[in-house]
Amino acid sequence: MAKRPIKFRSSKHNMDYVLLTVVLFLVGFGLLMIYSTSSYEAAVEHNDSAYYLKKQATSTLLGFVGLVFMTKFPYKLLQKFDVLAIIVSALLIIAVLTPLGVTRNGARRWLNLQFTSFQPAELAKIGVIIYLASIIQRLECVGKNVIRTPKGIAIIFAPPAVIAGLIYIITSNLSSAIIVMGIAIAMLFVAVPDYKWFIIGAVSITVLVFLVVLYVSGADTTDSGFRLARVKAWLEPESYSTDRAFQTLQALYAIGSGGIWGKGLGQSMQKRGFLPEAQNDMIFSIICEELGLFGAMAIIFLFIVLIWSCMIIANKTIDRFGSLLVVGVMAHYAIQVILNIAVVTNTIPNTGITLPFISYGGTSSLFLLMEIGIVLNISKHCK
């Protein structure tokens, strides 16, 4: 078959403004909630109630620069960086071990860039998305069903697995590793026609989880490992209220005391030192407390719209690479939102996952917005 360049009707299509609106709203709402949740602690600890707001606003601004840049940047060029993205991600994660690495709250996850700090795991997520989109598209071009051969699976899976392994081993950041692997599985899922293996995988994981729960609930965890104890704390938060389940239980207090209408913006009690660093992973619980079930549902609804919009864009895109990029981004958002809300509501054991666009975190905001930039860019090229 002859290769021919594809013409994009780029000028005729505007980008997806629904998606942009949702993102703008989420970002704005996120800043508001960060101020609301952090101002009390910020005033006590840093003598400036807007301390966290200012930092987050700066990275959000930077994120929007990235977003605009990505909407202009011809995304197809990204395909050229596929292997490079993986290598750079891996190197940056390893760089955490060098003196550049910064330790916070007992975890070595950041790189010190003098004026700011940077979390390489966040870059790795977008790197993996680019790599997978590119490599799946390339394998498709090589021949039919190459992707389903063991070699094909290995080419697709090995680099994300290495990245996830590095993230877990070097920065002991289980949640980012889970996200990276989750993105990889989601992208492979859409790329191949099979269901069987995924269903078998899902069922076996469910059974495994069930067995673990069964084992842990009967086990004595007094001197067992950290992860096992975490699972135990998940099952019975109120018996671990002072140590392992402290944060989870405090989040449940916040959610439960919100009721249907909430206490009103700024009225949260839990943010006043009871729920430590409420602006991070647990921000959703403060949203529940202040804005009630109503506010919580609105946020969940906005995320559904966000994911749905991504799906529409992915399915309207003719270009295989672009479509896979959007799927990757969608999977990234979906996994993070689902896991975050699941953790906050104690549906799954506690593992630190931020809520996209809303939780405090500079690097994560920057890359999330850049990913949106890519999706918006691709949306301009839909048919």
Binding site: L252, F274, A314, R320
Partner: protein, 598 residues
Amino acid sequence: MAGINSTGRRNMTVQKRKTFVLCSLSVIALLLLGVRVGYLMIFCSEHYTELATDLHERERDIKAARGRIIDSTGTVLADNKTVCTISVIHSQIEDPETVIEVLSRELGLSEEYVRKRVEKYSARERIKNNVEKAVGDKIRSLDLAGVKVDEDYKRYYPYGSLASKVLGFTGGDNQGIIGLEVSYEEYLTGTKGKILTLTDAKGIELDGMGERRREPEAGKDLYVSLDINIQQYATQLAKQAYETKQAAGVSIIVMNVNNGEILAMVDVPEFDLNDPFTLIDEFQIENVQTENLQTEEGKQEEKKQESTQDLLNKMWRNGCINDTYEPGSTFKIITAAAGLESGSVTLQDNFSCPGFIIVDDRKIRCHKVAGHGAEDFTHAVMNSCNPVFITVGLRIGAQKYYEYFTQFGLKQKTGIDLPGEAATIMHQPDKIGNVELATISFGQSFQITPIRLMTTVAGLINGGKLVTPHFGVKAVNSDGTIVEEFTYPISEGIVSSDTTEKLRYVLEQVVENGGGKNGYVEGFRVGGKTATSQTLPRGSGRYIASFLGFAPADNPKIMALAIIDTPQGTYYGGQIAAPVVRQLFENVLPYLEEIGYE
């Protein structure tokens, strides 16, 4: 680069479908989480709100007024007075220098002490407790920012040391420490009120978040059977005896024979209830002595503290119930009752006292060395003749005697409503040989408390009702409604009425013509028995003189026991203890007639 071949096109269709599936799965997951959030926020809301509120609210107690203690005449014996607690809130102080200056001046504290507290960074720092209301009001009127004056109650005893060992006193948290204040704690103590304020995780109160308040509930007033007039008079007599006889202690108990109500209980030396932690002079001296014995500086301090606490405990002891003694001859009433009840002796039985009696290999002397000669049992009681009582005791027999001892309640505590009643110290039944039985018969070789003796004798002369001695009559709410009228167990039939009659007769004879004639009161029929017992170790020259009297002798209503511990000079109960009861009865009996006491 990118190319679309047939595989690609087919896969593109697959991809679209699977993207849709992936997205739908995510949306379903989010919707399920939405349901979970809804469940938590609607169905678990109450549970978590309650837990969260518990966490957020800091309680501040509002002290409840403690119930008063009121005697049978309606006189308040234990009351509350309003005092103030002065504290400072660091963050609200505007002018620390003025605050330090005013507080140190008004409260009489050193500037250094106040400064340390004012400058300490804490939510609320207490400067001084139990400040007189006038001083508190003055400080409040100055309206200094950051200075808080909270009203509080402090126990106050209008009569100072009166019935100190009975009433008891309260500690820093207004909780009873000894006496009735302890026994009736649950009635006297009120329910604390609460001010609930919202605080952050560090406990700093949040302004403008409102507070909830639960009003305190005052404790119940306790009405007791004590009669202040009798108590005061008995105290006066006891003090008089205490001073003139230079005794180690004098106890007087006045009890209603028929229901066990105690009208007065004195155990001098008493202490000031408004200042219970200061040793009175009697104990001071010992304190100084122990101090001098110490050489090492640090050890001395430690020892001093320790001994001060010991001495305080000693000072607070109520000898009437907390200590046991050998009752001596007053116990012959019990032997007489057992003898008459068992039929081992009648009032007319004739005996002969040569001044001693030989039991097994022991020669036990009568207090009258020359002997009482021939006498019937009535006269033996009047003479308090040891050989006769030993004979009667031996006639009853150890096993039978022990049964009566038990039947008369002597083995068990009386159950008086005061804490720390001491138990009887008695031989094991199988260890009572003839010699032991002989000594028991005239009140030696075992120990009981004064209240135990009184209660049993009351039971023997009131027709066989073993009453429970007590003070508490009723608990009354602050609005006057009765919460509870206390009832006390009575066991009937410990002795037949016939024996009661005989005992009344013979004990009246003791006062009319016998060894207790110093207990005779003009115009009243008084029965009684004296006792002079040598304390252990024998031969120390220390005696306990006592007299137990009751009136009217033919239908006893009131009983009094006076015990003089280690008197100097004359130590015979009939000569020094009987007059105390006589003087008491001379005043109390007409008084009781006048108020129509039953």
